[in-house]
């Protein structure tokens, strides 16, 4: 009994510090989540799933202070024709946001959606709950119970432009919990952009239901603020012949843990998840991916690249689970780090668990320095050492950046990564 008390104390402290938004269609899901959270407890350092990333600052009662970055860099996705939805420290900003009406899509805010027959009832907390086995993800459960806002997006057609969730960070002590639900009807398509540091500490969950023949494209840029912390989860389930593509660029941030839980439950579907991160100094970045193949002839692809220097740490935990009967599965996973000095580290745990006998699954993980031969070749042609190193670093990241389907956004991401490398040249 004493042990249980030790385990639940920080959890109870956290629960006591938060207030659950009252009533409405989500009340049952929130109450259920609270009960589940009490049963599982918040993550601790001894949890296997948190072996490489200390959860302490994500589970302590209030957010550690994080300075707000002042930058004259052009905001992300500025040139893109998009529908903007702005949250400042987790609070919706109607003045900065666009009108939420767009053909082929309905958008509501979680905090404002009060209909008792809401469609999101079948999604809110549902995919999150499914994603709790075989590994518990208490931060997501905490989010389901206590999320203060978020967006509920129902995609019925093919909207003419992407939706951009913009997360501004304005207060040094802000602690934001947002929860989004996105439901794509059969054949529907949408691109979701996310950008910005969000808050001093950000807990975000996104549940995405992709119906048969639908396609979801997600491109995210986690902001440059050095001291921010974030724990995010994406839970998605795919119908047959559907597609899910997600790309994340992370630049700076003291602690980022991005979990992505994908369930391929319809035949002939594809899921691609990719990420690049660049970190200098006090930087810890963790990509944790769990892909379940539970249907025939599905393809999954994980491509993660990390550039680390001055003691930065990168973590990758990626798993492909192929269930019995998920024949003709094609699973690919690569995680690589480029260590620009001897102080940085990359910790990788690639896993495959396969119960079907007619599958192709491959995984690879590498950690290395800049290729000296390539560097000399470039220098011998007149390219100065620093510029040559940056060119080779961008080349290293290219395989992941190439996962973005839009050429303009691909170029923009590359340019921003190049600018970061330029700023952080040794």
């Amino acid at each position: 009994m004493a042990q249980t008390a030790v385990k639940t104390d920080p959890t109870e402290a956290m629960i006591a510090s938060l207030s659950m938004p009252a009533g409405g269609w989500s009340a049952a899901a929130r109450a259920d989540a609270l009960a589940r959270l009490r049963a599982m407890g918040l993550p601790q350092r001894r949890d296997e799933y948190w072996k490489y990333t200390r959860p302490d600052t994500l589970v302590q009662v209030s957010a550690p202070r994080a300075a707000v970055l002042v930058s004259d860099e052009r905001p992300m996705f500025d040139d893109v024709d998009r529908l903007k939805i702005v949250f400042v420290d987790g609070v919706f900003d109607p003045a900065a946001s666009d009108d939420l009406a767009l053909e082929g899509i309905t958008i509501e805010r979680l905090a404002a959606a009060d209909s008792d027959l809401h469609w999101a009832r079948s999604l809110y907390g549902v995919l999150e709950t499914r994603g709790q086995t075989p590994v518990a993800r208490p931060l997501a459960t905490l989010n389901t119970a206590f999320a203060t806002d978020g967006v509920l997006i129902h995609v019925t057609g093919k909207p003419s432009k992407p939706v951009n969730l913009i997360y501004r960070h304005d207060s040094e002590t802000s602690d934001a919990i947002l929860h989004h639900c996105i439901k794509l009807d059969p054949g529907a398509e949408m691109t979701l952009l996310e950008s910005g540091p969000a808050a001093a500490r950000f807990n975000k969950v996104m549940e995405v239901e992709v119906a048969d023949g639908a396609s979801f494209h997600h491109i995210r840029a986690q902001g440059r603020d050095h001291e921010r912390r974030a724990g995010t989860h994406i839970f998605t389930r795919l119908g047959s012949a559907s597609a899910f593509r997600s790309f994340t660029m992370t630049v700076n941030g003291q602690l980022t843990r991005n979990d992505c839980i994908i369930e391929l439950s319809g035949d002939d579907s594809i899921a691609h998840v990719a990420g690049v991160c660049v970190g200098d100094g006090d930087f810890h970045h963790d990509d944790t991916v769990f892909i379940t193949h539970d249907a025939v002839n599905c393809q999954s692809r994980q491509v993660f690249k990390k550039v680390l220097r001055n003691g930065a740490t990168g973590v990758f935990q990626g798993k492909i689970l192929v269930k019995a009967g998920a024949q003709k599965t094609d699973g690919y996973q690569i995680s690589q780090s480029l260590l620009l000095d001897g102080d940085s580290q990359f910790l990788a745990k690639p896993e495959l668990e396969i119960y079907a006998d007619d599958v192709i699954c491959s995984h690879g993980s590498t950690s290395g320095a800049i290729d000296e031969d390539a560097l000399f070749y470039l220098r011998s042609r007149g390219v100065p050492s620093g510029e040559a190193t940056n060119l080779l670093t961008l080349a290293f990241l290219a395989e992941a950046v190439d996962e973005i389907a839009h050429a303009d956004l691909r170029e923009d991401m590359t340019a921003r990564l190049g600018a970061w490398l330029e700023r952080h040249r040794s």
Binding site: F376, Y377, L378, R379, S380, R381, G382, L394
Partner: protein
């Protein structure tokens, strides 16, 4: 153009002397060839001149137009007009050939205080030069040397040479791995670049490359030194009799 005096070089991490006092004078507008058996120090000479890590200069000088290049960074040597055509050109996945070439051209111009080449101007020039070397547009778009055949890699080296317009070109076994036709194409590319203000140092094992790129002088290198110098006929002598006779003669 290039004046090498008593150049002595050892490996950085082992106590092994590779070059034991090389002397070489290359006048502007001339082509010199260095031949020699394996392990004689030919490639080391080319690497040391271009600034590759792993070698320690223990004595001597190498002046390019009066300035010692041995103290310079590799990129400074390139901007000063030195160019090494690699025996094994390096593959660089993820870096487009055009990006690479343009970055190199403009980096050198910047280092020399010249104006950078515009995208349009660069494109026009690179296309014209690529055509002469029978390099198709597709090859220019691919990552640097990735998936290139041996011949394509060597032609790509010559294309870089043509775009960068160096004063002193060192060709390190440019003929290795080439068939007769490819060698002819590369040699034609080099010959087209021969001019009054440009010198070449051609390192090769075989005389046949020198049928196409006719040198003014031929040097035989052995055991870290130039042991014999002469006209083009010296290369023929090697081809007919091998190195053994020459080495026996000088020892």
């Amino acid at each position: 153009m290039l004046s090498i005096k008593n150049l002595q070089v050892k490996l950085d991490d082992e106590d092994k002397q590779i070059l034991k006092g090389v002397d070489l004078e290359i006048e502007a507008g001339t082509v010199h060839a260095i031949m020699g058996p394996n392990g004689s120090g030919k490639s080391t000479l080319s690497y040391v001149l271009s600034g590759k890590d792993g070698y320690e200069v223990t004595g001597g000088t190498a002046l390019l137009e009066g300035v010692d290049v041995l103290d310079m960074e590799p990129e400074e040597r390139a901007a000063a007009g030195l160019f090494l055509a690699f025996q094994y050109p390096v593959e660089i996945p993820g870096v487009g050939n055009m990006t690479f070439l343009r970055t190199a051209v403009n980096a050198q111009r910047k280092a020399r205080g010249e104006e950078e080449m515009s995208a349009a101007e660069f494109l026009k020039e690179v296309r014209a030069k690529a055509k002469e070397l029978k390099i198709d547009a597709e090859m220019l778009k691919r990552p640097v040397n990735v998936g290139f055949s041996g011949g394509e890699k060597k032609r790509n080296e010559i294309l870089q040479m043509a775009m960068l317009a160096p004063k002193m070109c060192i060709l390190d076994e440019t003929d290795s791995g080439l068939d007769v036709d490819a060698m002819k194409l590369v040699a034609d590319g080099v010959n087209a670049l021969r001019s009054q203000g440009r010198s070449f140092l051609v390192i090769t094992h075989y005389q046949r490359l020198l049928d196409h790129i006719v040198p003014d002088m031929v040097h035989i290198m052995a055991n870290g030194r130039i042991v014999k110098s002469g006209g083009p006929e010296l290369a023929l002598e090697v081809e007919n009799n091998g190195y053994a006779d020459i080495l026996a003669e000088v020892v």
